[in-house]
């Protein structure tokens, strides 16, 4: 464990792109084996927390989507250029049987594996933003990482935040259903006089929706306060840790917040060369969603950085 921490620290200044390249090469070499995301993170000294978000942000797909696509691309390549049986190709691609390979293959290439093998066409892979594809000789050319560096009217920023004491109500389930937690929190806050002039509405997102199933996602609806509050029933208190936060402003409906996360983890952190600290991502809501058009909603998505 201590060696891991040491190496993570030494590599902090190492280029994110270099390290992600290591991860991607590792994936290509290990397509025959099951892959655990935590092991992948370790390949290039990424801390395991937030690694999914960094991968998705830089590569444009989740780890599992990426691995799955590369296995299917390799299957396509082998169908075209080898005599290997379709069943063997299916097993190598980590499919339990020919039927499941055929289904997955059909979805990606529009034809069955055997039809693909018969057709006298050159090989063509699906178009992806990263332009990373299976290459039998490990020669991948240039990768295109991350979103556009130009983040338009909302440049990212780093802000030092103090410890922020909050009163909160936890919601477990899909983000779209967190309204109940907010109602409970705000009714309590009104009764207790906590909606003061400086109160901020924050959301603590403990889970990555690309990894955690919707029904298990933990989200804390929070209001900042300096008053002393006794936790009771659903109402809890906690302190959001202070420190330097990397912040990306999002303008638009809450449903499209994922774009700001991709920007933050896939472009902002790599550009800064800073590592995210363990812990929840913090969302700050600037408007009242009841009286604001969804496209005018403004939200800061942020993460504590080391």
């Amino acid at each position: 464990m201590s060696t891991f921490i040491m190496s993570a620290r030494e590599s902090t200044q190492l280029d994110y792109a270099e390290r992600m390249r290591e991860v991607l090469l590792h994936i290509q070499r290990e397509l025959d084996h099951p892959m655990a995301p935590a092991d992948l993170a370790e390949v290039a000294c990424f801390a395991p927390h937030h690694f999914h978000r960094i991968f998705k942000g830089m590569v444009g797909e989740t780890i599992m989507e990426h691995v799955r696509r590369l296995r299917l691309e390799r299957a396509a390549w082998r169908l075209k250029f080898t005599d290997q049986s379709v069943t063997d190709i299916a097993f190598d691609a980590q499919y339990e049987n020919l039927e499941s390979l055929t289904r997955a293959f059909g979805k990606m290439f529009g034809v069955s594996p055997s039809a693909y093998r018969r057709a006298q066409r050159s090989i063509s892979y699906p178009t992806v933003a990263s332009s990373i594809h299976y290459a039998p000789d490990d020669n991948h050319g240039d990768f295109a990482f991350g979103c556009d560096a130009d983040s338009g009217p909302n440049p990212p920023r780093i802000e030092r935040q103090p410890d922020r004491p909050v009163v909160y109500v936890r919601h477990v389930g899909p983000y779209q259903e967190c309204k109940g937690a907010w109602d409970t929190l705000m009714e309590y806050a009104a009764r207790e006089g906590l909606i003061g002039p400086g109160a901020e509405m924050l959301g603590l997102c403990h889970d990555d929706p690309d990894v955690t199933p919707p029904e298990k996602i933990r989200y804390d609806a929070c209001i900042t306060t300096t008053a002393k509050v006794q936790p009771v029933g659903e109402i809890g208190t906690q302190i959001i840790p202070g420190g330097e936060y990397a912040i990306q402003r999002h303008r638009g409906p809450y449903e499209s917040l994922e774009g700001a996360y991709r920007q933050l983890f896939g472009s902002v952190l790599p550009a800064l060369g800073r590592e995210p600290a363990p812990g929840a991502c913090v969302e700050k809501y600037w408007n009242d969603p009841e009286s604001t058009d969804p496209e005018d909603l403004e939200t800061d998505v942020s993460v504590l950085i080391n």
Binding site: K179, E187, G193, G196, P197, A227, Y254, W286, D288, S291
Partner: protein, 202 residues
Amino acid sequence: MSTPAASKVDLFKEHKSEYAQKKTPTFVEVGKAQYLAIDGEGAPGGEAFQAAIGAMYAMAYTIKMTSKKNGRDYVVCKLEGIWGADGDFDSSAPESCRWTLMIRTPEFIRSEELKGAAEKIAAKNDCPEAAHVELRSLREGKCVQILHVGPYEEEGPSINAMRAFCEREGVAFAGAHHEIYLSDPRRVEPAKLKTILRYPVY
């Protein structure tokens, strides 16, 4: 955090015609309306003004959430401001101006609810201004109105356009300069700020 229930009162939408947003002057008829209101004096953006805004939002949301808990939910309306008292508001020099900040509020909200909210807020926050927020009714009647897009300091041409329109129509300004803030000046760049400007006329 999601779509409002169908039964929720939304005065801004219910009285859409009173909040007409045209870039050329137009007449609107504004009926009697109840507002949370707080009076003050000094530069917009100054200390007194900021404290008053903080108190208004604290009161507006404390009262709304209390009412919602009691089964009567509504949407908190946009912030409004009335500047000067006699129609001679000078948009380029508002520092010495007296103002009233307002948020339109349903008729079923009573002053007892304001008193309760102000006490709770004062007990947990440094916010003496909450006690100065009061209920006020206003019937502006016939008004001239325009949507001003840009910095507050550059309202002059929009006001002149309304004045010229009134002269052509044979009426004149008959009340204080009224602004309805559609944008949040803390986050929207000045050139894009949207503000409804309104004057009662006769």
